[in-house]
Protein backbone atom coordinates (compact mmCIF):
# COMPACT_ATOMS: atom_id res chain seq x y z
CA UNK A 1 0.00 0.00 0.00
CA UNK A 2 1.37 3.42 -0.90
CA UNK A 3 1.75 6.10 1.73
CA UNK A 4 -1.67 7.74 2.11
CA UNK A 5 -1.85 11.44 1.15
CA UNK A 6 -2.23 12.60 4.74
CA UNK A 7 1.20 11.19 5.52
CA UNK A 8 3.14 12.76 2.65
CA UNK A 9 4.49 15.81 4.38
CA UNK A 10 6.48 17.29 1.49
CA UNK A 11 7.60 20.86 2.11
CA UNK A 12 4.64 21.69 4.33
CA UNK A 13 6.27 23.11 7.45
CA UNK A 14 3.06 22.93 9.48
CA UNK A 15 2.61 19.24 8.67
CA UNK A 16 6.25 18.55 9.49
CA UNK A 17 5.96 20.27 12.86
CA UNK A 18 2.75 18.40 13.59
CA UNK A 19 4.40 15.06 12.85
CA UNK A 20 7.37 15.99 15.03
CA UNK A 21 5.10 17.03 17.91
CA UNK A 22 3.27 13.73 17.50
CA UNK A 23 6.53 11.82 18.02
CA UNK A 24 7.47 13.94 21.03
CA UNK A 25 4.04 13.46 22.62
CA UNK A 26 4.10 9.69 21.94
CA UNK A 27 7.50 9.37 23.63
CA UNK A 28 6.17 11.48 26.48
CA UNK A 29 3.15 9.12 26.65
CA UNK A 30 5.53 6.18 26.96
CA UNK A 31 7.31 7.87 29.85
CA UNK A 32 4.00 8.70 31.53
CA UNK A 33 3.18 4.97 31.26
CA UNK A 34 6.48 4.07 32.93
CA UNK A 35 5.86 6.67 35.64
CA UNK A 36 2.37 5.26 36.30
CA UNK A 37 3.89 1.75 36.49
CA UNK A 38 6.27 2.98 39.17
CA UNK A 39 3.33 4.52 41.05
CA UNK A 40 1.39 1.23 40.81
CA UNK A 41 4.46 -0.56 42.12
CA UNK A 42 4.68 1.72 45.15
CA UNK A 43 0.93 1.77 45.78
CA UNK A 44 -0.76 -1.31 44.24
CA UNK A 45 -4.26 -0.12 45.15
CA UNK A 46 -3.66 3.39 43.81
CA UNK A 47 -5.94 3.04 40.81
CA UNK A 48 -8.58 0.99 42.59
CA UNK A 49 -11.20 3.71 42.20
CA UNK A 50 -10.86 3.76 38.40
CA UNK A 51 -10.88 -0.02 38.18
CA UNK A 52 -13.77 -0.23 40.60
CA UNK A 53 -15.83 2.05 38.37
CA UNK A 54 -14.91 -0.15 35.41
CA UNK A 55 -15.99 -3.34 37.14
CA UNK A 56 -19.22 -1.69 38.31
CA UNK A 57 -19.93 -0.74 34.71
CA UNK A 58 -19.32 -4.18 33.22
CA UNK A 59 -20.73 -6.29 36.07
CA UNK A 60 -24.42 -6.22 35.00
CA UNK A 61 -23.59 -7.52 31.50
CA UNK A 62 -20.98 -9.96 32.69
CA UNK A 63 -23.21 -11.15 35.52
CA UNK A 64 -26.01 -11.93 33.08
CA UNK A 65 -23.67 -13.79 30.79
CA UNK A 66 -22.26 -15.74 33.73
CA UNK A 67 -25.74 -17.17 34.27
CA UNK A 68 -25.78 -18.32 30.66
CA UNK A 69 -22.34 -19.85 31.09
CA UNK A 70 -23.51 -21.87 34.08
CA UNK A 71 -26.55 -23.07 32.13
CA UNK A 72 -24.47 -24.05 29.11
CA UNK A 73 -21.84 -25.96 31.09
CA UNK A 74 -24.40 -27.84 33.19
CA UNK A 75 -26.25 -28.75 30.00
CA UNK A 76 -23.07 -30.19 28.58
CA UNK A 77 -22.45 -32.08 31.82
CA UNK A 78 -25.89 -33.65 31.54
CA UNK A 79 -25.26 -34.76 27.98
CA UNK A 80 -21.80 -36.12 28.71
CA UNK A 81 -23.09 -37.95 31.80
CA UNK A 82 -24.97 -40.37 29.49
CA UNK A 83 -21.68 -41.67 28.17
CA UNK A 84 -20.09 -44.14 30.57
CA UNK A 85 -23.18 -43.93 32.80
CA UNK A 86 -23.08 -47.62 33.76
CA UNK A 87 -19.44 -47.79 34.80
CA UNK A 88 -19.78 -44.48 36.63
CA UNK A 89 -22.79 -45.84 38.51
CA UNK A 90 -20.87 -48.92 39.62
CA UNK A 91 -17.96 -46.73 40.68
CA UNK A 92 -20.22 -44.47 42.70
CA UNK A 93 -21.86 -47.39 44.50
CA UNK A 94 -18.48 -48.74 45.51
CA UNK A 95 -17.45 -45.29 46.73
CA UNK A 96 -20.64 -44.89 48.76
CA UNK A 97 -20.10 -48.24 50.46
CA UNK A 98 -16.59 -47.21 51.40
CA UNK A 99 -17.66 -43.80 52.58
CA UNK A 100 -20.60 -44.92 54.70
CA UNK A 101 -18.18 -46.56 57.09
CA UNK A 102 -16.01 -43.45 57.08
CA UNK A 103 -19.00 -41.24 57.85
CA UNK A 104 -19.86 -43.28 60.93
CA UNK A 105 -16.25 -43.03 62.03
CA UNK A 106 -16.16 -39.29 61.38
CA UNK A 107 -19.39 -38.74 63.34
CA UNK A 108 -17.93 -40.58 66.29
CA UNK A 109 -14.78 -38.48 66.09
CA UNK A 110 -16.79 -35.28 65.90
CA UNK A 111 -18.75 -36.21 69.01
CA UNK A 112 -15.53 -36.97 70.81
CA UNK A 113 -14.04 -33.73 69.60
CA UNK A 114 -16.94 -31.68 70.92
CA UNK A 115 -16.66 -33.45 74.28
CA UNK A 116 -12.93 -32.81 74.50
CA UNK A 117 -13.30 -29.19 73.51
CA UNK A 118 -15.94 -28.73 76.22
CA UNK A 119 -13.54 -30.25 78.71
CA UNK A 120 -10.83 -27.81 77.67
CA UNK A 121 -13.23 -24.91 77.84
CA UNK A 122 -12.74 -23.98 74.21
CA UNK A 123 -15.60 -22.16 72.60
CA UNK A 124 -16.45 -23.37 69.13
CA UNK A 125 -16.16 -20.58 66.62
CA UNK A 126 -19.23 -20.21 64.50
CA UNK A 127 -18.16 -22.43 61.67
CA UNK A 128 -20.05 -21.66 58.54
CA UNK A 129 -21.20 -18.08 58.80
CA UNK A 130 -21.71 -16.66 55.37
CA UNK A 131 -21.58 -13.00 54.49
CA UNK A 132 -22.94 -13.43 51.01
CA UNK A 133 -23.27 -15.88 48.15
CA UNK A 134 -22.43 -14.74 44.68
CA UNK A 135 -21.25 -15.79 41.27
CA UNK A 136 -17.77 -15.44 39.84
CA UNK A 137 -18.58 -13.24 36.87
CA UNK A 138 -15.32 -12.53 35.10
CA UNK A 139 -11.57 -12.65 35.48
CA UNK A 140 -8.38 -11.12 34.14
CA UNK A 141 -8.26 -13.62 31.30
CA UNK A 142 -5.70 -11.68 29.23
CA UNK A 143 -3.22 -11.12 32.03
CA UNK A 144 -0.88 -13.37 34.00
CA UNK A 145 -2.42 -12.11 37.24
CA UNK A 146 -5.29 -14.27 38.44
CA UNK A 147 -8.00 -11.97 39.74
CA UNK A 148 -11.70 -12.72 39.42
CA UNK A 149 -14.74 -10.54 40.08
CA UNK A 150 -17.82 -11.49 42.09
CA UNK A 151 -21.15 -9.75 41.76
CA UNK A 152 -21.39 -8.71 45.41
CA UNK A 153 -19.63 -5.88 47.14
CA UNK A 154 -19.49 -3.61 50.15
CA UNK A 155 -23.26 -3.15 49.99
CA UNK A 156 -23.59 -6.88 50.79
CA UNK A 157 -21.01 -6.60 53.56
CA UNK A 158 -17.98 -7.83 51.63
CA UNK A 159 -14.68 -6.41 52.89
CA UNK A 160 -11.08 -6.74 51.78
CA UNK A 161 -9.29 -9.77 53.25
CA UNK A 162 -12.33 -12.00 53.65
CA UNK A 163 -11.89 -15.58 52.45
CA UNK A 164 -13.94 -16.76 49.50
CA UNK A 165 -14.83 -20.42 49.08
CA UNK A 166 -17.12 -22.72 47.17
CA UNK A 167 -18.72 -25.89 48.54
CA UNK A 168 -15.71 -27.83 47.23
CA UNK A 169 -13.00 -25.71 48.77
CA UNK A 170 -11.14 -22.44 49.10
CA UNK A 171 -11.13 -20.13 46.07
CA UNK A 172 -9.27 -17.03 47.24
CA UNK A 173 -9.65 -13.86 49.23
CA UNK A 174 -11.19 -10.46 48.63
CA UNK A 175 -8.74 -7.83 47.36
CA UNK A 176 -10.85 -4.73 46.83
CA UNK A 177 -14.54 -3.94 46.90
CA UNK A 178 -16.90 -1.52 45.21
CA UNK A 179 -20.58 -1.14 46.17
CA UNK A 180 -21.72 -4.06 43.99
CA UNK A 181 -18.61 -5.97 42.97
CA UNK A 182 -15.47 -7.31 44.59
CA UNK A 183 -12.13 -8.43 43.20
CA UNK A 184 -10.98 -11.85 44.35
CA UNK A 185 -7.30 -12.77 44.42
CA UNK A 186 -7.55 -16.42 43.37
CA UNK A 187 -5.43 -19.12 45.00
CA UNK A 188 -3.70 -19.71 41.66
CA UNK A 189 -2.24 -16.18 41.65
CA UNK A 190 1.44 -16.26 42.62
CA UNK A 191 0.81 -13.43 45.10
CA UNK A 192 -1.67 -15.47 47.14
CA UNK A 193 -0.14 -17.47 49.98
CA UNK A 194 -2.28 -19.55 52.27
CA UNK A 195 -1.07 -21.51 55.31
CA UNK A 196 -2.11 -25.15 54.90
CA UNK A 197 -1.64 -28.50 56.60
CA UNK A 198 -1.89 -32.10 55.47
CA UNK A 199 -5.11 -33.72 56.66
CA UNK A 200 -3.47 -36.97 57.81
CA UNK A 201 -0.78 -35.68 60.14
CA UNK A 202 -1.02 -31.89 60.20
CA UNK A 203 2.34 -31.19 58.52
CA UNK A 204 2.21 -27.44 57.86
CA UNK A 205 3.20 -25.51 54.79
CA UNK A 206 1.89 -22.74 52.62
CA UNK A 207 0.53 -22.56 49.11
CA UNK A 208 1.78 -20.36 46.33
CA UNK A 209 -0.05 -20.03 43.02
CA UNK A 210 1.79 -21.09 39.89
CA UNK A 211 -0.41 -19.00 37.61
CA UNK A 212 -1.44 -22.00 35.50
CA UNK A 213 -4.37 -23.29 37.54
CA UNK A 214 -2.20 -25.27 39.94
CA UNK A 215 -0.49 -24.32 43.18
CA UNK A 216 2.86 -25.10 44.74
CA UNK A 217 2.95 -26.25 48.35
CA UNK A 218 6.06 -25.20 50.21
CA UNK A 219 7.13 -26.61 53.54
CA UNK A 220 7.61 -24.25 56.44
CA UNK A 221 10.33 -26.42 57.97
CA UNK A 222 12.90 -27.79 55.57
CA UNK A 223 13.62 -31.47 55.82
CA UNK A 224 12.66 -34.69 54.13
CA UNK A 225 9.87 -33.99 51.69
CA UNK A 226 6.89 -35.90 53.10
CA UNK A 227 4.40 -35.17 50.33
CA UNK A 228 2.98 -37.90 48.14
CA UNK A 229 0.49 -37.69 45.31
CA UNK A 230 -3.05 -37.91 46.69
CA UNK A 231 -2.35 -36.01 49.90
CA UNK A 232 -5.13 -33.60 50.73
CA UNK A 233 -4.28 -30.15 52.01
CA UNK A 234 -6.63 -28.04 54.12
CA UNK A 235 -6.19 -24.60 55.62
CA UNK A 236 -4.37 -24.67 58.94
CA UNK A 237 -5.83 -21.46 60.33
CA UNK A 238 -2.35 -20.15 61.20
CA UNK A 239 -2.16 -16.39 61.16
CA UNK A 240 -5.91 -15.94 60.98
CA UNK A 241 -7.85 -14.86 57.89
CA UNK A 242 -8.71 -18.41 56.79
CA UNK A 243 -10.72 -20.64 59.12
CA UNK A 244 -8.99 -24.00 59.75
CA UNK A 245 -9.98 -27.12 57.79
CA UNK A 246 -11.25 -25.54 54.58
CA UNK A 247 -10.32 -28.02 51.81
CA UNK A 248 -7.70 -26.50 49.50
CA UNK A 249 -5.89 -28.87 47.17
CA UNK A 250 -4.83 -32.40 46.38
CA UNK A 251 -1.15 -33.12 45.76
CA UNK A 252 -0.35 -34.42 42.27
CA UNK A 253 3.40 -34.35 42.24
CA UNK A 254 6.16 -34.08 44.80
CA UNK A 255 9.00 -31.63 44.10
CA UNK A 256 12.37 -30.81 45.66
CA UNK A 257 11.02 -28.34 48.20
CA UNK A 258 7.39 -29.35 48.54
CA UNK A 259 4.72 -30.38 46.09
CA UNK A 260 2.54 -29.31 43.22
CA UNK A 261 -1.17 -29.61 43.82
CA UNK A 262 -4.44 -29.24 41.98
CA UNK A 263 -7.10 -27.06 43.56
CA UNK A 264 -10.11 -28.95 44.87
CA UNK A 265 -12.30 -26.04 43.81
CA UNK A 266 -10.88 -24.97 40.48
CA UNK A 267 -12.09 -21.39 39.88
CA UNK A 268 -12.73 -22.22 36.22
CA UNK A 269 -15.26 -24.86 37.25
CA UNK A 270 -16.75 -22.87 40.09
CA UNK A 271 -20.07 -21.14 39.73
CA UNK A 272 -21.28 -19.88 43.10
CA UNK A 273 -18.94 -18.86 45.88
CA UNK A 274 -19.56 -17.80 49.46
CA UNK A 275 -17.77 -14.95 51.17
CA UNK A 276 -16.98 -15.68 54.81
CA UNK A 277 -15.89 -13.43 57.65
CA UNK A 278 -12.22 -13.17 58.46
CA UNK A 279 -11.16 -15.87 60.91
CA UNK A 280 -9.78 -14.64 64.21
CA UNK A 281 -7.76 -17.26 66.11
CA UNK A 282 -8.92 -18.07 69.63
CA UNK A 283 -5.73 -16.91 71.34
CA UNK A 284 -6.30 -13.43 69.93
CA UNK A 285 -6.12 -10.21 71.96
CA UNK A 286 -9.79 -9.68 71.12
CA UNK A 287 -10.60 -12.05 74.02
CA UNK A 288 -8.99 -9.59 76.43
CA UNK A 289 -10.96 -6.72 74.97
CA UNK A 290 -14.12 -8.74 75.59
CA UNK A 291 -13.14 -9.11 79.22
CA UNK A 292 -12.52 -5.38 79.49
CA UNK A 293 -15.88 -4.58 78.01
CA UNK A 294 -17.48 -6.97 80.52
CA UNK A 295 -15.70 -5.09 83.31
CA UNK A 296 -16.81 -1.73 82.03
CA UNK A 297 -20.43 -2.84 81.84
CA UNK A 298 -20.04 -4.10 85.39
CA UNK A 299 -18.78 -0.69 86.44
CA UNK A 300 -21.59 0.96 84.59
CA UNK A 301 -24.11 -1.18 86.46
CA UNK A 302 -22.44 -0.29 89.74
CA UNK A 303 -22.60 3.41 88.91
CA UNK A 304 -26.25 3.32 87.95
CA UNK A 305 -27.24 1.55 91.16
CA UNK A 306 -26.83 4.58 93.50
CA UNK A 307 -29.00 6.68 91.24
CA UNK A 308 -32.00 4.42 91.72
Amino acid sequence: MATPPNRRLGFNRKAQYRAFTGYVLAILGGFIGLFLLVISFIDPTGFAALRGAASEATAPVSGGLAGARAGASSGWDEVSAYFAAASKNADLERTIERQEAQIVEANALRQENIKLKRLLGLVEQEADTTITISRLINSTATSTSRIATIYAGSRQGVEAGQPVRSPKGLVGRVLTTTPNTAKILLLTDPRNRVPVKRTEDGIVGFTEGLGDGRIAIKLVEMGVNPFEPGDIMVTSGNGGLYRPNIPVAVVVESTADGAIANLLSSPAATDYVTVQPRFIPIDDPSDNSDDESDDSTGDGAAQTDPGR
Binding site: G22, G33, S40, V61, T142, G211
Partner: protein, 172 residues
Protein backbone atom coordinates in the same frame (compact mmCIF):
# COMPACT_ATOMS: atom_id res chain seq x y z
CA UNK B 1 -33.37 10.28 -9.53
CA UNK B 2 -35.17 8.92 -6.52
CA UNK B 3 -35.12 10.91 -3.33
CA UNK B 4 -33.43 8.19 -1.33
CA UNK B 5 -30.35 8.41 -3.58
CA UNK B 6 -30.23 12.18 -3.76
CA UNK B 7 -29.91 12.27 0.02
CA UNK B 8 -26.79 10.14 -0.18
CA UNK B 9 -25.14 11.93 -3.09
CA UNK B 10 -22.81 14.83 -2.44
CA UNK B 11 -23.55 14.48 1.27
CA UNK B 12 -21.27 15.71 4.00
CA UNK B 13 -19.72 12.94 6.09
CA UNK B 14 -20.41 13.11 9.78
CA UNK B 15 -17.08 13.86 11.48
CA UNK B 16 -18.41 12.40 14.72
CA UNK B 17 -19.03 9.03 13.12
CA UNK B 18 -15.75 9.13 11.23
CA UNK B 19 -13.85 9.51 14.48
CA UNK B 20 -16.13 7.67 16.86
CA UNK B 21 -16.42 4.29 15.11
CA UNK B 22 -12.74 3.34 15.51
CA UNK B 23 -12.57 4.77 19.04
CA UNK B 24 -15.64 2.86 20.19
CA UNK B 25 -14.42 -0.35 18.58
CA UNK B 26 -11.09 -0.17 20.44
CA UNK B 27 -12.68 0.72 23.80
CA UNK B 28 -15.25 -2.08 23.47
CA UNK B 29 -12.48 -4.51 22.54
CA UNK B 30 -10.54 -3.46 25.65
CA UNK B 31 -13.65 -4.05 27.76
CA UNK B 32 -14.38 -7.45 26.20
CA UNK B 33 -12.27 -9.57 28.61
CA UNK B 34 -14.21 -8.04 31.52
CA UNK B 35 -17.56 -8.60 29.82
CA UNK B 36 -17.04 -12.24 28.84
CA UNK B 37 -17.85 -14.47 31.83
CA UNK B 38 -14.66 -16.51 31.58
CA UNK B 39 -12.82 -17.55 34.72
CA UNK B 40 -9.45 -18.41 33.22
CA UNK B 41 -6.88 -20.64 34.87
CA UNK B 42 -4.08 -19.07 32.82
CA UNK B 43 -3.93 -16.17 30.33
CA UNK B 44 -5.90 -17.36 27.33
CA UNK B 45 -7.93 -14.49 25.86
CA UNK B 46 -6.10 -12.36 23.28
CA UNK B 47 -5.52 -8.73 24.26
CA UNK B 48 -8.45 -7.64 22.10
CA UNK B 49 -7.90 -3.90 22.58
CA UNK B 50 -4.37 -4.14 21.24
CA UNK B 51 -5.44 -6.33 18.32
CA UNK B 52 -8.10 -3.83 17.24
CA UNK B 53 -5.70 -0.90 17.68
CA UNK B 54 -3.15 -2.71 15.46
CA UNK B 55 -5.83 -3.50 12.90
CA UNK B 56 -6.87 0.15 12.61
CA UNK B 57 -3.23 1.21 12.50
CA UNK B 58 -2.51 -1.16 9.60
CA UNK B 59 -5.75 -0.31 7.79
CA UNK B 60 -5.68 3.46 8.16
CA UNK B 61 -2.23 4.80 8.99
CA UNK B 62 -2.47 8.37 10.20
CA UNK B 63 -6.05 8.06 11.39
CA UNK B 64 -4.86 9.33 14.77
CA UNK B 65 -1.70 11.04 15.93
CA UNK B 66 0.86 8.61 17.38
CA UNK B 67 0.25 9.69 20.96
CA UNK B 68 -3.39 8.52 20.86
CA UNK B 69 -2.08 5.01 21.62
CA UNK B 70 -1.25 6.18 25.14
CA UNK B 71 -4.85 7.25 25.74
CA UNK B 72 -6.26 3.98 24.40
CA UNK B 73 -3.69 2.24 26.58
CA UNK B 74 -5.01 4.04 29.66
CA UNK B 75 -8.52 2.75 28.89
CA UNK B 76 -7.20 -0.78 28.42
CA UNK B 77 -5.26 -0.62 31.70
CA UNK B 78 -8.48 0.06 33.59
CA UNK B 79 -9.97 -3.21 32.33
CA UNK B 80 -7.05 -5.57 31.80
CA UNK B 81 -5.95 -6.28 35.36
CA UNK B 82 -2.35 -5.48 34.49
CA UNK B 83 -0.52 -2.91 36.61
CA UNK B 84 -1.73 0.58 35.63
CA UNK B 85 0.60 2.08 33.03
CA UNK B 86 1.37 -1.25 31.34
CA UNK B 87 -0.60 -0.61 28.16
CA UNK B 88 0.08 3.14 28.15
CA UNK B 89 3.78 2.36 27.98
CA UNK B 90 3.78 -0.63 25.67
CA UNK B 91 1.15 0.66 23.22
CA UNK B 92 2.99 4.00 22.87
CA UNK B 93 6.20 2.08 22.27
CA UNK B 94 4.50 -0.17 19.70
CA UNK B 95 3.06 2.77 17.77
CA UNK B 96 6.42 4.58 17.67
CA UNK B 97 8.11 1.43 16.35
CA UNK B 98 5.28 0.99 13.85
CA UNK B 99 5.85 4.54 12.61
CA UNK B 100 9.53 3.80 12.06
CA UNK B 101 8.68 0.58 10.20
CA UNK B 102 6.15 2.46 8.10
CA UNK B 103 8.75 4.98 6.97
CA UNK B 104 11.13 2.21 5.87
CA UNK B 105 8.87 -0.47 4.43
CA UNK B 106 6.21 1.41 2.54
CA UNK B 107 4.91 -1.21 0.13
CA UNK B 108 3.48 -4.12 2.05
CA UNK B 109 0.94 -6.81 1.46
CA UNK B 110 -1.28 -8.86 3.74
CA UNK B 111 1.32 -11.45 4.76
CA UNK B 112 3.83 -8.81 5.77
CA UNK B 113 1.16 -6.97 7.74
CA UNK B 114 0.23 -10.18 9.51
CA UNK B 115 3.89 -10.84 10.29
CA UNK B 116 4.20 -7.32 11.70
CA UNK B 117 1.08 -7.80 13.78
CA UNK B 118 2.41 -11.14 15.05
CA UNK B 119 5.65 -9.42 16.04
CA UNK B 120 3.83 -6.70 17.96
CA UNK B 121 1.35 -9.10 19.61
CA UNK B 122 4.13 -11.41 20.80
CA UNK B 123 6.14 -8.43 21.99
CA UNK B 124 3.19 -6.95 23.89
CA UNK B 125 2.23 -10.22 25.62
CA UNK B 126 5.82 -10.96 26.64
CA UNK B 127 6.40 -7.37 27.81
CA UNK B 128 3.20 -7.50 29.90
CA UNK B 129 4.32 -10.76 31.48
CA UNK B 130 7.75 -9.25 32.20
CA UNK B 131 6.14 -6.21 33.83
CA UNK B 132 3.99 -8.58 35.90
CA UNK B 133 7.18 -10.44 36.81
CA UNK B 134 8.54 -7.19 38.27
CA UNK B 135 5.25 -6.96 40.19
CA UNK B 136 6.04 -10.36 41.78
CA UNK B 137 3.87 -12.49 39.51
CA UNK B 138 6.39 -14.96 38.12
CA UNK B 139 4.91 -17.47 35.68
CA UNK B 140 6.44 -19.98 33.34
CA UNK B 141 7.11 -18.44 29.87
CA UNK B 142 5.49 -21.48 28.24
CA UNK B 143 2.23 -20.39 29.80
CA UNK B 144 2.08 -17.50 27.33
CA UNK B 145 2.24 -19.72 24.24
CA UNK B 146 -1.50 -20.52 23.94
CA UNK B 147 -2.41 -16.85 24.27
CA UNK B 148 0.20 -15.74 21.73
CA UNK B 149 -0.84 -18.42 19.24
CA UNK B 150 -4.53 -17.67 19.61
CA UNK B 151 -3.95 -13.93 19.24
CA UNK B 152 -1.88 -14.31 16.08
CA UNK B 153 -4.36 -16.72 14.52
CA UNK B 154 -7.26 -14.43 15.39
CA UNK B 155 -5.64 -11.30 13.99
CA UNK B 156 -6.81 -11.63 10.34
CA UNK B 157 -10.37 -11.95 11.62
CA UNK B 158 -9.97 -8.81 13.72
CA UNK B 159 -8.47 -7.03 10.72
CA UNK B 160 -11.47 -8.09 8.64
CA UNK B 161 -13.89 -6.87 11.30
CA UNK B 162 -12.09 -3.52 11.50
CA UNK B 163 -12.30 -3.26 7.70
CA UNK B 164 -16.04 -3.96 7.89
CA UNK B 165 -16.49 -1.24 10.51
CA UNK B 166 -14.37 1.01 8.30
CA UNK B 167 -16.65 0.46 5.32
CA UNK B 168 -19.68 1.33 7.50
CA UNK B 169 -17.84 4.35 8.83
CA UNK B 170 -17.01 5.73 5.39
CA UNK B 171 -20.47 4.93 4.03
CA UNK B 172 -22.19 7.24 6.49
Amino acid sequence: MSRSYSARLNRRRSTVKLLLYPVISIVLASMLPMILPIIADYPILPPFGFLVLLAWRLLRPGLWPIWAAGIFGAVDDVFSGQPFGNAIFSWSLAMIIMELIDSRYVWREFWQDWFLAAFFITGFIILSALINYLFKIPVSPFLLLPQITLSICLFPLILRSAAWIDSKRLAT
